[in-house]
């Protein structure tokens, strides 16, 4: 038990990997403490999947090195494989087979005898709410059920390290919550989880530490609290009734919050980051003050919200470019010219 939850689960130094001209990993360093959930946060094309595939022994790095529980992912791949499992971004189970068949297949491959594999499959289906669906082909499952059977398959042998590549992308809020609950249970039982996500709130909800990834590199690392306070813990979104009042509203809000205010493409909308490092007031207090000042200035606010910064805002703050993939950004630049 202690070996599973102490020390470092993953140590990577200077990992590089290119696909033709694309540098998917450009010198990535990671250290993931065992027994925790670690989040890799980044936009499309940041290199998250590539990093996970290298660490899961599916892909050889061009340069750098990585160890999982002290075993080199290239030289001692088999030792690594004995301790990890992977739920890929796209289904990593056989969609033509039924849920039960998939689990029995994997159980047998992990060395269980047929009756034990069958029993394990039934247990897992029950725990993941898939007993009724067990006899159906996986291709007929809903998105949420698919994710669950995929994760069930990954914990068949209670791995020491579980890779979850974007486990909730494309799921509805309920299915997303179910996956989160499962992840929490998994880590509570001593399995280290390395999960990738595009959502700051997901990383925030689950991860003990987060690495923000961009262009194949870690550009910021820390606890969710540390990251957020470096960015500002919240964002105020305002929509005015009258677009004509926006310039004045901007002045009032800037004065109230002491931070720059961003004018959105929508002519009645403004946003501002609050709760940053420089402020000793809580984000909600700052927001309340801004609202009061606006009311006093006679500016009518139709819609107001205080939320966490989005991934895009984190990116803006960390890199001064928004979190859009290269090709889209190129198109935008093109359009701007």
């Amino acid at each position: 038990m202690s070996k599973r939850t102490t020390g470092l689960a993953v140590e990577a130094e200077g990992l590089t990997r290119s696909f033709g001209e694309t540098r998917a990993l450009a010198g990535m360093d990671l250290s993931v403490p065992a027994g925790t959930v670690y989040g890799l946060l980044g936009p499309n094309g940041a290199g998250k999947t590539t990093a996970v595939r290298v660490l899961a022994t599916l892909l050889r790095p061009d340069g750098g090195r990585a160890r999982v529980f002290g075993h080199d992912v290239v030289a001692e791949a088999d030792k690594v494989r004995a301790r990890v499992s992977l739920t890929g971004q796209y289904a990593s189970i056989d969609e033509d087979l039924t849920g039960v068949e998939n689990l029995i297949l994997l159980g047998r491959l992990l060395g269980l005898r047929k009756p034990a594999a069958r029993q394990r499959a039934d247990q897992l289906l029950a725990a993941f709410g898939l007993t009724d669906a067990g006899g159906r082909q996986v291709k007929k499952y809903s998105g949420g059920m698919r994710r669950r059977i995929d994760i069930a398959a990954s914990i068949l042998n209670t791995p020491d390290l579980l890779f979850l590549d974007e486990p909730t992308t494309g799921l509805d809020p309920r299915s997303r919550n179910q996956v989160w609950e499962i992840v929490r249970a998994v880590v509570a039982h001593g399995t280290t989880v390395l999960l990738t996500t595009q959502y700051l709130d997901e990383a925030d909800q689950l991860a003990g530490r987060i690495a923000v990834v961009d262009h194949g590199r870690v550009i910021a690392e820390g606890t969710p609290g540390e990251l957020k306070s470096s960015v500002g813990s919240g964002t105020v979104h305002l929509r005015l009734r009258d677009a004509g009042q926006r310039p004045e509203a901007e002045k009032v809000v800037r004065a109230a919050l002491g931070v720059p205010v961003q004018l959105e493409p929508d002519p009645v909308a403004l946003t501002a980051r609050v709760g940053g490092e420089g402020s000793d007031l809580a984000a909600s207090e700052q927001a309340a003050r801004a609202l009061a000042d606006l009311a006093r200035a006679g500016i009518v606010v139709d819609d107001f919200s205080l939320g966490q910064p989005s991934l895009d805002e984190v990116f803006l703050a960390l890199t001064d470019h928004p979190a859009v993939p290269d090709d889209e950004r190129d198109e935008q630049l093109e359009a701007a010219r």
Binding site: M1, R4, R53, T57, L58, L59, R60, D78, R81, A82, V84, S85, L86, G88, Y90, A91, S92, I93, D94, E95, D96, L97, T98, E101, L105, L106, R108, L109, L110, G111, L112, R113, A116, R120, Q123, L124, A126, A127, F128, G129, L130, D132, A133, S142, G144, M145, R148, A152, A153, N157, T158, R174, Q178, E181, A185, V186, A188, H189, G190, T191
Partner: protein, 284 residues
């Protein structure tokens, strides 16, 4: 079809992860010993059988195609090349059986290529099992299709008047040789299935290899009727050795020289293309 399909008539039951239920499956149990190479391969073979069970349409290729081949060539060439289609059939059936089955081996590559596209191989490749087992198992499943195709062709042949002198044992021996060769030859396609980008290109390459290989052989006519340069190719073509060996087995005799060549070719395919395949498989 959806989450609620199984609960029609009742209120859709929503899955709520329960800490206790998850605790029972998450308690780290004893790790069972790693399965042997054979056991892992057979388990992957079982997967191939399950896929046939769930997607039986894939058997169409191994049944309809051979039937069409036999009928077409028997009546197309039978009258011209022998006194009657029935006479030609005695010579031709073992050859067309070999042609059909060898052509079907290309689906191994096509199947592997689509499988890998879908991502399930990512999981297989992170399992601590004997590395080639996923591919060996897949080919085990394909062997069943080869046997099935051979039996279908034999059936059609018997109906049309094929009467092998070797009897049941001779026919079984012939099919056995064919299956051994096909197993070995399948490794050519696993390699192409891994290196080529799409299913279509795998098909394209397969056709380019298979047509000359099967037609420039002794399948349709005796090589003695061909020009010298062509005879030279036909003579070294593994399909020629295979057809000769299968023909004599089915006719109730043995052909040690061709059988030996055939086994040498088979071993060569496994060693060369098996190695290349595993090299690619490990390095994707």
């Amino acid at each position: 079809m959806s989450d609620t399909a199984t609960t029609t008539g009742r209120a859709p039951s929503v899955y709520v992860p329960s800490a206790e239920a998850l605790a029972t499956v998450l308690a780290p149990g004893e790790r069972p010993p790693r399965p042997s190479a054979l056991s892992a391969s057979l388990t992957f073979g079982w997967r191939a059988l399950l896929k046939i069970k769930h997607v039986p349409e894939q058997l169409f290729d191994v049944t309809a195609f051979p039937i069409i081949m036999v009928l077409m060539f028997t009546y197309l060439f039978g009258g011209a090349l022998a006194d009657s289609p029935r006479d030609y059939l005695q010579f031709f059936l073992p050859g067309i059986m070999v042609t059909s089955v060898v052509m079907i081996t290309m689906y191994t590559g096509v199947g592997l290529n689509t499988d890998i596209e879908k991502g399930v191989f990512d999981r297989f490749r992170t399992l601590p099992v004997w590395r080639p087992s996923a591919l060996v198992g897949m080919i085990f499943g394909d062997l069943l299709r080869y046997v099935l195709a051979a039996v279908v062709i034999l059936g059609v042949g018997l109906v049309l008047g094929f009467r092998p002198d070797g009897g049941l044992i001779g026919v079984a021996a012939g099919i056995g040789l064919l299956v051994v060769f096909s197993f070995a030859f399948s490794w050519v396609w696993t390699f192409f299935g891994l290196i080529l980008r799409s299913e279509k290109s795998v098909m394209g390459v397969s056709m380019m290899v298979l047509f000359p290989l099967t037609f420039l052989s002794n399948v349709f006519v005796e090589p003695s009727t061909m020009p010298g340069w062509l005879q030279a190719f036909v003579k070294v073509n593994p399909i020629t050795h295979l057809v000769a060996a299968v023909r004599s087995a089915m006719a109730g005799s043995t052909d040690p020289s061709n059988t030996m060549w055939l086994l040498l070719w088979s071993a060569g395919f496994v060693v060369v293309f098996g190695t290349l395949t595993m090299y690619r498989y490990n390095r994707r």
